[in-house]
């Protein structure tokens, strides 16, 4: 489906084969672990066996004595940070915390926390050496639950954390606490709003700790040269932030670090923060040789990633005819070892799909003895969507209102003031609901017993930030495009397509490359659904720069005034019907002064945000509590789909991650704070046998801030699935699930509870 009056594009909206495709289907593409350097050493990180402990002593002498061991490092080899916050592109980070996460200082705060690292001739020797490092711990009591960690007598993780209350600390206490931040939004008169409601529902929710689950483990190879210059080869979502984090952590100038992007095997937000580059760099500095460090899968689970577990309470007031009068939300998110959960966006997203005349939102960022939480696709929004969207569904059920109609009545649209303050510009929430309502899926009948259907919506901001592109015209009419956005899902091609569209040439004429930090202008992370939007704008700017230069070259060739020449339809047109195509003019560049290089940047544009509405049919096995997803449809406002296949791919991939979050995925901890399922066997992400085809409806409501109307699409599709599935389960089995994941045992207990109540 697309909006009427859509402009006609030649390249945008087509499905060319991605430029890096052949390398990736033949095994030739080089990912982080594939790098080979002469004299390469292999590093292994020793990790804490305890969830919470003081490090009394580390003795590395036995490890250092092992044949084949070249160096051992601990936190003592990473320069001290002092108390400083550094802006790292996606926000300011407390450097002491980041440094202590890379190698533990005086305390370990989660099982798997890095304590020391060894570089040796091969991984096996390095592994043996790790076992020879003697660490004496004073074990402390861990706290693993968000609400328990908020209690005044909870064990405290960080001595330097005080509750940040919007710029000030509460006057009440100056004691260390796990509660790192409080957020409050209010709009209107909440009391009056609830008083005007005919139905008021209040529900509590819990969601589990989940991991991004990228198949490629973290990796980094570093070479600390004798001249003090450091090169890092790694898979990362942001080469420039990786460079800056490495430089700041090692306290060397940013210009002394070069980050070379390798192909990246998935990130979803989890490959922005650095873990290994400073460790590899410190080992390389000690040995004078390149050092490669690759995490194993259990370290990936135990020490990276997760997105927070949460406690959420929602109160919703609605009139008999289905109008929202008030909302109240309380959210507490686990930050993990150090402050920084996505509680801010969680609070901003919880009511963002609707027009709330009156509302209050209160949120807390809380440290617990789990790995430091990181972004995961629309960070903070999925937890919140699970809560609000199931309460909305329950209200609809009580009032006998169709849930799509309820959303059409109350849904956010241009001009609505959000609970956190700003007013929406042009957005497509209602269009996604209409698309679902009109879909064959929503209109169809369910096929059998124990089946149910649910819908849910979700919102994500999408960010703008900064990007740079340089494009060079070849004399044969080709264009090489260089960019700094690491390509995780085909973005090279969608960037090349925007340049091609602007120049009026084909996508195949453009050869895009992702290059290192010395070779392209500053570019922010591949995240926040920003690459196709912001790097796309930079590519369009580069193309316009080329157009301007080509106009001058053509004027010179034709011996006319440049003001009489225009660039249109893939070529230049001049007076008296003069015309040259892009290729014809490219051939003539050598005789008009040589190369034409276009530069483009973007840095000012911000995105309007995106909405999705999902519809799912499930079957609940009443004997086992197993939920089978039978049919799934995603409708999302995608602005303008540049390469529809990869847009669909984002929607499908995000939806399936959301299905995993909904039904299976969760960290299991024992009471000592040890994760008991740190393998893919036990932390079960969906396989292709678990899911059906994921149908997509691309709703195109162009974002006016992008020349072609692009909206970021990558994140919002993970938000609706848990709620949509919970709503479908409620329809199928008559139980309202309030905890994620909705695993068979939880569903069975809900069913037994339901039967007992009868």
């Amino acid at each position: 489906m697309s909006t009427n009056g859509k402009p006609k594009y030649k390249v945008i909206g087509t499905r060319p084969i991605r430029h890096d495709g052949v390398d990736k289907v033949t095994g030739r593409a080089k990912y982080g672990a594939d790098i080979r350097l002469s004299g390469l050493l292999h590093g292994i990180v020793l990790r804490s066996p305890h969830a919470h402990a003081r490090i009394v002593r580390i003795d590395t002498s036995r490890a250092e004595a092992l044949a084949g061991v070249r160096a051992v490092v601990t936190a003592a080899d990473i320069p001290p940070q002092g108390d400083r916050m550094v802006e790292l592109g996606e926000g300011a980070v407390n450097m002491r915390h980041l440094s202590a996460n890379v190698l533990a200082h005086d305390k370990v705060l989660y099982k798997g926390h890095a304590v020391a690292a060894v570089a040796a001739d091969n991984v096996h020797i390095a592994e043996e050496a790790c076992k020879l490092i003697d660490v004496e711990y004073e074990v402390l009591e861990p706290v693993l639950d968000v609400l328990k960690a908020m209690l005044p007598d909870a064990p405290v993780l960080n001595d330097d954390v005080r509750t940040d209350v919007m710029g000030g600390s509460p006057a009440a206490s100056d004691r260390p606490t796990n509660v790192a931040r409080q957020i409050i939004f209010t709009k209107g008169d909440v009391q009056a709003g609830f008083a005007a409601a005919d139905v008021v529902l209040e529900r509590e929710f819990r969601t589990g700790t989940v991991h991004q689950g990228y198949i490629e483990p973290h990796n980094a190879t570093a070479m600390w040269n004798a001249n003090g210059k450091v090169t890092v080869w790694m898979s990362t979502q942001g080469i420039f932030t990786a460079r800056q984090q490495t430089a700041e952590l090692m306290r060397i100038p940013v210009a002394d670090v070069k980050v070379v992007p390798m192909e990246i095997g998935g990130g979803f937000g989890g490959k922005i923060s650095v873990y290994l580059p400073p460790v590899a760099a410190a080992l390389s500095k000690k040995t004078g040789r390149p050092v490669k460090v690759i995490m194993d899968r259990s370290a990936v689970f135990e020490a990276t990633g997760p997105t927070p577990a949460s406690y959420i309470k929602i109160k919703l007031g609605v009139t008999r005819d289905g109008m929202i009068t008030a909302g109240d939300a309380y959210l507490a998110y686990e930050a993990g070892a150090f402050p920084g959960s996505p509680i801010g966006p969680g609070c901003m997203c919880v009511f963002s799909c609707y027009d709330f005349p009156n509302a209050r939102v209160e949120g807390y960022d809380v440290c617990v003895n789990k790995p430091r939480s990181n972004a995961y696709r629309a960070p903070g929004s999925t937890n919140a969507a699970f809560a609000i969207e199931t309460v909305v569904d329950e209200v609809c059920q009580q009032l006998g209102i169709d849930p799509a109609d309820f959303r059409l009545k109350n849904g956010a649209k241009e001009g609505v003031r959000r609970v956190d303050g700003p007013v929406y510009s042009r957005i497509g929430m209602l269009e996604t609901v209409e698309a679902i309502k009109a879909s064959e899926h929503y209109q169809s009948k369910l096929a059998g017993p124990n089946q149910g259907r649910g819908i849910a919506s979700g919102y994500w901001f999408n960010i703008g930030l900064k990007s740079a592109v340089t494009a060079t015209v070849g004399y044969d009419g080709s264009v090489t495009l260089i960019e700094g956005s690491t390509d995780i899902g085909g973005s090279r091609t969608s960037i090349a397509m925007q340049l091609a569209e602007t120049l009026g040439i084909t996508a195949e004429q453009v050869t895009p490359s992702v290059v290192d930090t010395d070779s392209v202008g500053y570019t922010d992370v591949t995240g926040g659904s920003r690459v196709t939007f912001a790097t796309g704008i930079a590519a369009i700017e580069a193309a316009r720069d080329i157009q301007r230069q080509l106009v001058i070259r053509a004027a010179e060739l034709w011996e006319v005034d440049p003001s009489t020449v225009t660039y249109v339809d893939g070529g230049v047109s001049g007076p008296d019907g003069k015309r040259m195509t892009f290729e014809e003019l490219a051939h003539k560049l050598p005789e008009t002064g040589g190369p034409v290089i276009g530069n483009g940047t973007s840095g000012k544009a911000t995105q309007a945000g995106a909405f999705g509405t999902h519809c799912v049919d499930v079957e609940v096995d009443p004997e086992t509590g197993k939920v089978q997803v039978l049919r799934y449809t995603v409708a999302q406002d995608v602005g303008t789909a540049i390469h529809p296949s990869y847009v669909e791919g984002q929607l499908q991939g995000g939806a399936v991650q959301g299905i995993g979050w909904a039904l299976n995925e969760e960290y299991w901890y024992d009471d000592k704070g040890s994760m008991r399922n740190a393998t893919y066997l036990d932390y079960r992400i969906p396989t292709c046998y678990d899911v059906p085809m994921i149908d997509t409806i691309l709703v195109e409501v162009p974002d006016p801030q992008h020349p072609y109307g692009v909206r970021g699409v990558g994140e919002v599709p993970i938000c609706p699935p848990p709620a949509a599935i919970a709503n479908a389960i409620a329809a199928a089995a008559g139980v309202r699930m309030k905890q994620l994941p909705m695993s068979p045992p939880r569903i069975m207990s809900a069913i037994w509870e339901r039967d007992a109540a009868k």
Binding site: I17, V25, D34, Y214, L681
Partner: protein, 162 residues
Amino acid sequence: MAKKRVVSIKLNGDPVEFLCEPRQTLLEVLRDTLDMTGTKEGCSNGNCGACTVLMDGRPVTSCLVLAVEAEGAEVRTVEGVACGSHLAPVQQAFLEGAALQCGICTPGFIMQTEALLAENPSPTEEQVRFYLAGNLCRCTGYDKIVRAVMCAADKRRAAMDD
């Protein structure tokens, strides 16, 4: 450290000899000794399928095979799927169907699909999903992968009919 062994295999059609420690996996030798880095490592314990190769035509997770166990075997990796510069139907179908995003799972899926189609040239969607269930992909949601495999089956059958 135990003594190194000499192992002879046939790798993508060519005889290859290598020296390895008994504790080294086939995956490690392929990648680190033989420089065949097309085969990927996602978990090293048999759960993700990224390291799938064919051993005597059977798909195996090479992280669970000791290199010495491969003695005498015919091993096929993703580097041996294309015929010269001609992509195999499976590779072509993955490209055309946009069945990869980050691509780290792709070599494993391609090898598993090769095995599937050799065994069953016309699989149903259900059979495809069952056969590929040991290969994890976190990016695509599998929709386009399953479609690409079905399409590769069509392409292969068409090529055989020619």
